[in-house]
Assembly symmetry: D2
Homo-oligomer: 268 residues x 4
C-alpha cells in the first residue's frame, strides 16, 4: 500500500540544497537562501530567489552557458562537501552502509567526524527514525562538518560530540559503529561496550597494516565474521560506435573492514 501523494514535479523550497549542473559538466552545490547570489564560472552571479517555487529539472540560462537545477544526490552532497580533511568516497559509503546493515531507524556511532561527508550519508540513511552520534577528538569541531550536515537538511538526525580516544561512548546498544581514524584498534573495547548484540563495526583505513592490526584486535576481542573489502569504480564512456572504459581511474581509496559483535555472554 502506498503512503505518499503523487506529484508531477518536485518544487524547490527556500533552504533546499540545489545542484546547479552546467552543460559543460561544471556543477555547484548551492543553498537556496533569499538574497544569495551564486557565483558561477560562466557569467555574473545568479540571484537564487528566482529558483524558489520552480520545479527541479528546470533549465536555467546564464550569461555564457546554461544548466539545470537538480536535487542533489548523496554523491553530490558528499563530493561537494566543504572540506579540510580527506573525504569518504560515495562508492565506499554506499557499500559500507549496506554491508553494515544500516537502515532507517538504525542508531549509529561514527568515530572521526572529519568533513561530515560520511556523517551525511549515515544520517540520510537512518532518517527519519534513527540517529547518528558522531564523535571527534577535537574540542572545536570542524565548522565544515556542521555546515555540510546543515546544508543537507540533516541536522535533526545528527548529534556532534567530542571525546578522547578510548573513552566510553555515551550510547549503548547501538546498531553499528563506523571508525574513520588512523588507529582504530585503540577503540575496540569502547566499541564492544557500545554495540548491541549482533551489532556491526566498520573500520576505514588506507593501509594494509591498519586493517591487519584492527582485524587481529577485533578477533582477539571476540568479534566474528571479520572481513575486509576494497571497491574499484571505473567509468565507461558509452557512446555510439565507440564505447570504452575511461583512461584514468582511482586506484585506491580505502580498505573497509567489517565485523560483528556477538551478544555479551552475560546477557545470553
Amino acid at each position: 500500500m502506498e503512503n505518499s501523494t503523487p506529484k508531477k514535479n518536485l518544487t524547490i523550497k527556500e533552504g533546499d540544497a540545489v545542484l546547479l549542473c552546467f552543460e559543460d559538466e561544471k556543477s555547484y552545490l548551492i543553498e537556496v537562501t533569499r538574497g544569495k547570489r551564486a557565483s558561477i564560472h560562466c557569467g555574473r552571479p545568479i540571484l537564487v530567489d528566482d529558483w524558489i517555487g520552480q520545479p527541479f529539472g528546470k533549465k536555467v540560462v546564464c550569461e555564457h552557458g546554461s544548466g539545470y537545477l537538480l536535487k542533489p544526490t548523496l554523491e553530490d552532497l558528499m563530493m561537494k562537501a566543504s572540506r579540510e580533511s580527506g573525504i569518504i568516497y560515495p562508492k565506499d559509503a554506499a557499500f559500507l552502509i549496506m554491508k553494515a546493515g544500516i537502515t532507517n531507524g538504525s542508531r549509529v556511532i561514527e568515530v572521526g567526524t572529519g568533513s561530515g561527508s560520511l556523517t551525511m550519508a549515515l544520517a540520510q540513511t537512518v532518517a527519519p527514525n534513527g540517529h547518528v552520534y558522531t564523535y571527534d577528538r577535537r574540542t572545536d569541531l570542524p565548522k565544515n562538518a556542521h555546515k555540510n550536515v546543515a546544508r543537507a537538511g540533516l541536522n535533526d538526525f545528527v548529534t556532534f560530540k567530542q571525546r578522547q580516544v578510548s573513552d566510553p561512548f555515551d550510547e549503548t546498544g547501538v546498531d553499528a559503529i563506523i571508525l574513520d581514524i588512523p588507529q582504530p584498534w585503540e577503540e575496540v573495547a569502547s566499541v564492544k561496550r557500545a554495540l548491541r548484540g549482533g551489532g556491526r563495526v566498520v573500520s576505514l583505513n588506507p593501509t594494509f597494516n591498519q586493517i591487519e592490526k584492527m582485524a587481529e584486535e577485533l578477533r582477539a576481542n571476540g568479534f566474528i565474521l571479520v572481513e575486509s573489502r576494497e571497491l574499484l569504480e571505473r567509468e565507461i564512456l558509452a557512446r555510439g560506435g565507440k564505447t570504452r572504459p575511461v583512461q584514468r581511474m582511482i586506484g585506491h581509496t580505502e580498505f573497509m573492514l567489517f565485523a560483528v559483535c556477538p551478544l555479551d555472554p552475560t546477557q545470553a
Copy 2:
C-alpha cells in the same frame, strides 16, 4: 535531536527474518514462524520458537556446530533471496541507489521485478515514507519476488504490477526509475513521461552493446548527464603477518547506466 529510544539489545520477534550464521561461515536466512523447524547442515532441524524473545547476537549451539542469530543486512537478504533468475549484486544495488539519489520518501519505479532482490533494496531505502512500484511483463508474477519482499518485512512499501513493454506506467512524477531488462531502449519514452523533472533513470545491463544503445537512446530523447560505471569488489584476507587479496573474484556483474531527465519544457 534524537528520536529513538536507546536499548541495550535488539530482540527477535515472531515474523522476523534471522540470519543463522555458523562458525564455518555457512549461513541460513530463516523466517521466525512458530512451529518451524529449520534444516541445517550440522545437526537435526532446529525449532525456531526458542529464538523468539532472544536478543540478536546470541550464540546457539546445534548438534555438531554453533552459530549466531543475526539481524540480516540488506546484503544477506539479497544474496539469500530465493531465485529463479539472476540476482543483482549488493555492491551494485547500494551504488546505484546512492547515485540515483534514492532515499527515504522517494517514489521509485522498477522495471523487471525478477527475484525481487533489487526490489528489497529499493524498498528498504525508500521506507518509511516512499514507495516502490515494480513492474514485470509476466502475468503470473514470480512467487519468489513476493516471498522475498514479504520475508524482508517490506510488503507495505512495494506494489507489484504487470505491464507490457512500452505501455505507460500508472505513476507520474516519480523520483527514479530502475530498468533491469534486456532491451531498455524500448522503454525510454514511457520512462520520460513517468519521471519528474530532474528525476533519474538507471539501467542495468551485462553487455557493452546494451549500455551503448541505451545511452544513445537516452541522449536522443533529451536526457542529460548520461554516464556509465562498473564496480569491482575484491576481498582482502586481513590476518596477522599474512594479509593478501583473495585469489578469486567476480570479474563482472553488470554495467550501470545513469541519466537525468530535464524538466519537460512545457512545464518550465
Copy 3:
C-alpha cells in the same frame, strides 16, 4: 651449458642508450654519442663522453642532484620513446608478446608502426634470429619510429615498409601479425595469407566496438581460439608500517584480441 663469459659489471659503450635516473625519480634516456651534452633539470648539461667505459650502475653527481647510469629496460625504451602518436604500454606489449608465442627467431609483421614503441618490444624479443617487418600507411614514415628503433640498437632486426590497407604483405609464413590500427577487420584477408599455419594474430584497440567487429571478422574467416583480454596494472607503495596501493591508476589502455590461423586446408 652456459655460453656467455661472466663479467663483474657491464660497461657503457659509445652508441649505447643509457637511462640517467635521478634520485627524485626524474629520468632521461640518452644516447651516448661523443660530444653530446645532455640537458637535465638539476644543473648544467652533462658531457656524456665521461660515461664511455664506465660501468652501468655508476652514480653521477650533477650540479643540484645525483643519479645513476642504468641500462634501459624495454619499459624505459617504450615509455621514453619520442612520439607523435599514442604509445603502447609496456604491460600490454609484454603480455601480447608472450600470449602470441613471439620469441627469438620469430618472423613478425606489425601493422601500424606509430612511434615504434611496440616495434622495439617486438624487435628485442625476436633478436637475434628473427625479424620484424613493420608496415605503415604513410609514405613518409614517422621519423620518430626510425629514431626510437635506432636508439635501442635494434636496426638490424627491423624493416620499415609502406603499404596501403588490404594490400598483400611481402612476407608469407610469418609466425605472428600484430595490428595496431583503427579498422583491423579490413586486414583479415591479407593477414590470413601472410600467416603460417598455426600463426597468431593480435589486434590492439581501445573500444569494445572494434574488438567485437574484429573478433567476428576473424571467426567468419576461419580463425580459431579467438579471445580478448585487458590488463590493469596497479602500483603498491611498499613501505614499513604503511603499505597501500597508490591513489591513481590507469583505467584503460587497450583491449587485446588474439586468434590463431589454422593451416590452409589446401596445404593439409
Copy 4:
C-alpha cells in the same frame, strides 16, 4: 637486414612440444616422441608419429572430436607445466621479465626453482646468448622442473643448482635475480654480491607483509628504485551484439617487487 629464410609453414619435428587444442577448448601439451600414444578425452589414444613432418596449424580428427596441432606459446608451456607446487602466472612472468630488463644475452639467477614454469619463461627470453642459473634449497630437485624445461627444449640455457639460504651464489655480475621464496629478505646480501652494477632484483610474494619487509630490507641495503606492482587480467567475451567481460576472474596471484642495485662504490 633480415637474417632468416622465409618459409610457408613450420614443420613439426621429433622432440617438439605440440599443443593439441580441441575445438571444445580442451588442450594437451604433448612431446612428440616416436611410439608415443597421447591420451585424449574424446577418443582412443593418438599415435603421435603421424604428426612428425606435418605443419603446425594442421587439423586432426579424433574419434569424437577434432583439434589443431599448435606450437605452444610460453603461456601454454607455463600453464601446462607438470607441477608439485604453485605456478607463476604468464601475465606476471611476462611483465616482470620486461620490467627487469631481461632479454637475449641476459645472465639471470632464479631463486626457488619450483615447477620450473618461471625458469622456462626466463630461459626462453635469454636464449640464445644468455643463461639461467636456477637455485633451490632442496637436494633432490623437483623432477618436474627438469622435465618441464626439457620438454620446452630449453636445457641448453638452464643450469639447476642446489644451495642453502644466504649462501653465496656461484655467479657474479649477473643482470638480474628473481626470487620466488617466502622470506626473500634473507637473501639480500647474497643478491647484492651477485648482481652487476645496475643489475635488477625481482621478488614475487603473495602477501603485503612480505613485499613490505623485502622493500625495507632492500632500501636498507642501498638498493634504489624500489617499487611494487600487481597486475589484474580480465577476459572479455567479444561476440557480435553481446560483448562483455567474463563473470569470473583471478583476484590475486602475486605482488611483484622490483629494485636496482647501484654500482658497488668501491668499483666506482
